[in-house]
């Protein structure tokens, strides 16, 4: 279904030999940001998905190999990271200044 599942937690049951997982956490002022909106943008900056971070500030996407941007929108501000993902686990941290 299309609703975003709970973020964070174990990777058990996820086949990292086929899935391209992009995951990480949103931080601000030395602490994780819960309830931040994180969106995944493709190489043309078009929206692909959006999730809300867990109490630990975590997010996770299932993408495909290639260039992606993750952008966070929260009450405390915005931040973004660009990354080149490969099949398997790709981890990144978004810092909101």
């Amino acid at each position: 279904m299309c609703g975003a599942p709970k973020q964070g937690g174990s990777l058990a049951g996820i086949d990292l030999s086929t899935q391209t997982v992009i995951q990480g956490a949103v931080w601000h002022d030395g602490a994780p940001v819960a309830g931040a909106y994180v969106r995944l943008l493709d190489s043309t900056d078009e929206f692909t998905a959006e999730v809300v971070t867990s109490p630990e500030g975590e997010f996770r996407f299932f993408a495909a190999p290639g260039a992606w941007k993750v952008r966070s929108l929260a009450a405390v501000g915005k931040g973004e990271r660009v990354l080149d993902a490969e099949v398997g686990l790709n981890e990144t941290t978004i810092v909101i200044d």
Binding site: M1, C2, G3, A4, P5, K6, I14, D15, T18, Q19, T20, I22, G35, Y37, R39, L40, D42, T44, E46, F47, T48, A49, E50, V51, V52, R60, F61, F62, A63, A64, L73, A74, A75
Partner: protein
């Protein structure tokens, strides 16, 4: 029909909390958001548990819809204001659904839950109980719902608007990227469909773009006003968002939502697919 008839702002909602005759309804697939805090007085509709037939792949029949709304304390004369997470995808689906069953006055809260949260507006954890009603639904209005045979027949003759992300349209991925990518459907899109992602109609805070911006968007992407239109996505909720834009905000005629969408089309034997 204009924007003011179908869309209310978060400010308007906050000013109208507790007003008799207005029912706020949060619609989500994952209702843990509602349980963690909702707009004061809002009732909850669970997209999967409440709005889908438990056995067949379909929405509720008329009798079940009447029972649901009666139990939720929603009356025929109430103004229903819908909002939810996921940029109002499921709230837009519920809006389309309330229209199918003829509810007279239904609106969306612009920006949904995201805008409300980003504004730092108050959320309540109080249990909401409304007295039951005797809701009477109309017969389903199928002029706004498309079925698979109509979609196949529309190839090359109607506006087919695929509102999924470009990577889903091209077949690079099969589902929105917050979901695992193992699905049984074939990847791609309906031939002659134009790809106008739902997200182009929304600002980053989840609110809809202005009427002028929206009119320009569809014009630029090859939408032909002289043709009938079918919008689709993967399971019919993002395409409800676009159906709302085309039919309710822009006032275009003969727009249908194909709620079977790619999960159905991409599983059909023998139909044409483009990648």
């Amino acid at each position: 029909m204009s924007r003011n008839d179908v869309l209310v702002t978060a400010d308007w909602v906050q000013e109208n909390l507790g007003t008799p005759g207005i029912v706020f309804v949060e619609v989500d697939e994952d209702t843990s958001a509602y349980d963690g805090g909702h707009i004061e007085g809002a009732v909850k509709l669970d997209w999967k548990q409440d709005l889908q037939d438990p056995l067949r792949r379909d929405y509720l029949d008329k009798t079940a819809f009447e029972a649901l709304l009666s139990a939720k304390g929603i009356g025929n004369d109430d103004t229903v204001v819908l909002y939810g997470g996921n940029n109002n995808w499921f709230a837009a689906y519920a809006y389309w659904y309330f229209k199918i069953y003829g509810h007279r006055d239904v609106k969306l809260m612009d920006g949904g839950r995201k805008k409300w949260e980003l504004d730092g507006r108050p959320l309540s954890k109080d249990t909401v109980d409304r007295p039951a009603t005797q809701y009477q639904a109309s017969e389903p209005d199928l002029s706004i719902r498309a079925f698979r045979d109509e979609v196949v027949a529309a190839i090359g003759s109607k506006n087919l608007v695929d509102v999924r992300s470009p990577d889903e349209f091209s077949g690079k991925i099969l589902a929105p990227a917050h979901l695992p990518q193992e699905q049984s459907q074939r990847a791609g899109h309906v031939p002659t469909a134009i790809n106008i992602p739902w997200s182009k109609a929304a600002n980053e805070d989840g609110t809809f773009k202005s009427d002028e911006q929206l009119a320009a968007l569809y014009g630029e992407q090859g939408f032909d006003d002289s043709l009938e239109t079918i919008a689709y996505c993967r399971i019919g909720e993002r395409s409800s968002h676009t159906w709302f834009v085309l039919s309710e905000l822009l006032g275009k005629k003969n727009v249908k939502n194909y709620d079977g969408s790619w999960v159905e089309y991409g599983s059909l034997v023998g139909v044409p697919i483009e990648k």
